[in-house]
Symmetry: C2
Subunit: 96 residues, 2 copies
């Protein structure tokens, strides 16, 4: 399923930047970074539980905001994009 | 239906900040700002078409990224939140 993860963190502090880097690193294991703090992850239920636990260990819950949106398996028609695209499709092969 | 709007814009420039303010203003007509550049909007199809047109007039498509995620009408179980909450529920009454 596609899980959209949005992360609101103050990146004007070094600690905030570091947390964003850590969140990005975890999310990018399962998908792609589509915006600076927005990640599209393809996970099954078990992976989702694990990813949530990892992210909750990273964020500072007193100042950061982390939101997850569950878009299911038929997500292709549920996403629309305008402007510059910084990522690749999450379920397309990556040619290195 | 719930439409999630995520907007990636460089707010280190005055013009970027201005565009974000304008996008926020339009989105807040239909819902709430849940993160700095993430908006949850409740719209019907006609409102969605109008909102998209308005937002596309605001953004700079050469440098900004705007994404829309369609979460349908049964969205209550599709959203999960951790950390600080900066908004109010979009379909709850606002007491002023």
């Amino acid at each position: 399923m596609l899980v959209l993860i949005t992360y609101d963190v103050n990146t004007e502090t070094a600690a905030g930047k570091k947390r964003l880097r850590k969140v990005a690193k975890q999310c990018e294991n399962y998908g792609r970074r589509v915006q600076n703090s927005v990640f599209e992850c393809i996970v099954d239920n078990a992976q989702c539980v694990m990813l949530k636990a990892l992210l909750n260990d990273i964020i500072d819950e007193n100042v950061d905001s982390l939101r997850l949106y569950y878009l299911g398996n038929k997500y292709q028609t549920k996403v629309e994009h305008f402007g510059v695209d910084r990522g690749i499709q999450v379920d397309q092969p990556l040619i290195l």
